[in-house]
């Protein structure tokens, strides 16, 4: 990378923020290419979490003592950081969840009772590129409510087929929930087209931004959706905290999901009244330190310049893709016109799981498997793929190491 160019990332400097990268695995420099599963954490995040437990260890929203006030201020402060990250003005639209999985379960279980509720025969639309987190919650709720789950198909290139969307979106469609970027093969979906069609019939629109939040600017205003969710641990934050953003007027009308402490105004054994949005959706003691760590992570990501991160990663992905394509016996899976997050591939005559073990022996951490997208794997006729996913700290040397480890696999299986 050209370190002198103000428009490009100084990756060498960035790497210093990630102590986890500075280690040997099986006698080789660690090459971490599994950020899509979870990202490495920068020092700023670790320090934020550490300081919560060292200085501000108290529960939130329920004490007048100093530590509780500090913890509450820091916790609530993160709502504003998230609002800034998403480019929205009202931080009460930010709900803390454990991540995308919990957000989707919250949405499925509350939207089904919004206004007149889901009726048997109503439809929910997802996509064939989606992660299980955007499939199973809707399946479960459909079993309960009698709604019908519809799926936008994809072509051999791994792109959603949007030419006949009207076949999938009709007056019966209540919810359209799709992933922004495929964690399995890296397709960036044309969500503008999908959501525009959804709005025409008044369907609720939900974006799974798990794999776009760490890589590109995402603004619900520009995207024009009703809900958007991402997981903190994939955006350089700790595990245990994620975000669900929703339009306030919708959130206000939605019933609570889980009941308990923190989400109520008054409780008697006859009935309870609920706190306001967003607290109504945050029952029980949250993962306070993880939320505060998430705030530090988003500030860190912003400070690097998200556009720069995006173009740096895009360049790396292009390098990986074209290098893999030039190797014999290597098959890149999917050929999306817009790619982020990862490149998925297979090797002739080698099962991805065997490849992963050998690559790990070379210090290269990649993921082999179905990537929680079993329906997509089935569509592509593959039991599994090898996935190399990038983060802001990856560089050309990592790409070289990846390619060398692929060669090592081929030698063993030659």
């Amino acid at each position: 990378m050209n370190a002198g160019d103000p428009m490009s990332l100084n990756v060498h400097e960035i790497q210093k923020h990630f102590p986890g990268l500075n280690q040997q695995v099986h006698g080789h420099r660690l090459v971490y290419l599994d950020s899509a599963a979870t990202t490495q954490k920068p020092v700023a995040v670790m320090e934020a979490v550490d300081s919560v437990y060292r200085q501000d260890c108290a529960n939130v929203h329920r004490g007048v003592h100093t530590l509780s006030e500090r913890a509450t201020a820091r916790f609530e402060g993160v709502r504003k950081v998230v609002a800034g990250f998403l480019g929205i003005s009202d931080s009460r639209e930010v709900i803390f969840t454990r991540g995308v999985t919990e957000s989707m379960n919250l949405l499925a279980n509350t939207l089904c009772h919004l206004d007149s509720g889901f009726q048997p025969g109503d439809e929910i639309l997802i996509s064939s590129l989606d992660h299980h987190a955007n499939i199973v919650p809707w399946q479960l709720i459909s079993e309960k409510m009698g709604t019908v789950l519809k799926v936008i198909p994809c072509d051999d290139a791994g792109e959603l087929i949007l030419s006949d969307l009207d076949q999938w979106i009709s007056e019966k469609t209540r919810v359209v929930s799709v992933g922004h970027v495929s964690n399995a093969i890296g397709t960036v979906n044309d969500i503008d087209t999908i959501f525009a069609e959804a709005r025409k019939v008044g369907a609720i629109t939900i974006l799974d931004a798990a794999q776009s939040a760490p890589h590109m600017s995402i603004s619900p205003k520009e995207i024009d959706c009703d809900f958007l969710t991402f997981s903190g641990h994939k955006t350089y934050g700790p595990t245990g905290a994620g975000v669900l953003w929703g339009k306030k007027e919708l959130l206000d009308r939605m019933p609570p999901w889980q009941g308990g402490g923190d989400m109520i105004r008054t409780v008697s054994f006859e009935e309870s009244s609920f706190a306001e949005t967003p607290w109504k959706f945050e029952a029980g003691t949250p993962d306070i330190a993880a939320v505060i760590g998430l705030g530090a992570a988003l500030e860190f990501l912003d400070s690097m310049g998200r556009d720069k991160v995006c173009s740096h990663e895009t360049r790396l992905l292009q390098k990986i893709e074209s290098a893999l394509k030039s190797m014999d016996g290597v098959n890149v899976v999917g050929e999306p016109s817009l790619r982020a997050c990862c490149v998925s591939f297979t090797l002739d005559g080698v099962h991805p799981h065997d490849a992963a073990t050998i690559m790990d022996q070379n210090g290269v951490a990649i993921r082999a498997g179905h990537h929680c997208a079993m329906p997509l794997m089935k569509r592509l006729g593959l039991p599994a793929t090898i996935r190399a996913s990038v983060g802001m700290h990856n560089d050309e040397a990592d790409v070289e190491a990846l390619l060398e480890s692929v060669e090592a696999v081929r030698e063993i299986f030659a």
């Binding site: 099962h351 065997d354 073990t357 050998i358 498997g369 179905h370 039991p383 599994a384 063993i412 299986f413």
Partner: protein, 150 residues
């Protein structure tokens, strides 16, 4: 890389490329399906019993990694003609070796199983080596069932 050569010995590569008894049996007496959700390995295993109850023929079909496929292939050779009791005993012996609980060398008639001993250093791969075996035991236990490494 030498440790990788040890894990992926010639015999494993050979059996994974040309698995023995990779076929459906006519009129099997027992069958089971094994599945490893972590890596997506899937195996269908069938057994024919002889008149004296021995496992007279074992066949399998698998979509699986090299270690899993080779292990299934070598299983079919190793257990052919064995009684159910012997088969269970060999399973226990194999299982305790690949999990590192037992370090004694195999008796000479089980020497082929030695190629999987290296797996004990790769905990995430132990399930690959044992899937076919679990599936066989499942078939014996239930006559028909689904085995899982979970």
């Amino acid at each position: 890389m030498s440790s990788m050569r040890e894990l992926y010995q010639e015999m494993i590569i050979d059996h994974s490329r040309s698995p023995r008894n990779h076929k459906k049996l006519d009129h099997p007496d027992l069958s089971a399906r094994g599945h490893n959700p972590l890596c997506g390995d899937e195996i269908d295993l069938e057994v024919k019993r002889g008149e004296d109850g021995v496992l007279s023929e074992i066949g399998f079909e698998a979509t699986a990694c090299a270690i899993c496929t080779a292990s299934a292939s070598i299983l079919t050779e190793t257990l052919k003609g064995k009684s159910e009791e012997d088969a269970r005993a060999i399973f226990h012996r194999f299982h305790s070796t690949v999990t590192g609980e037992v370090e004694d060398p195999y008796p000479s008639e089980l020497m082929k199983l030695e190629v999987f001993t290296g797996v004990k250093d790769y905990p995430s791969r132990v399930k690959c080596a044992t899937l076919a075996w679990h599936t066989l035991i499942q078939a014996l236990d239930e006559n028909n069932g689904e085995a899982s490494t979970e």
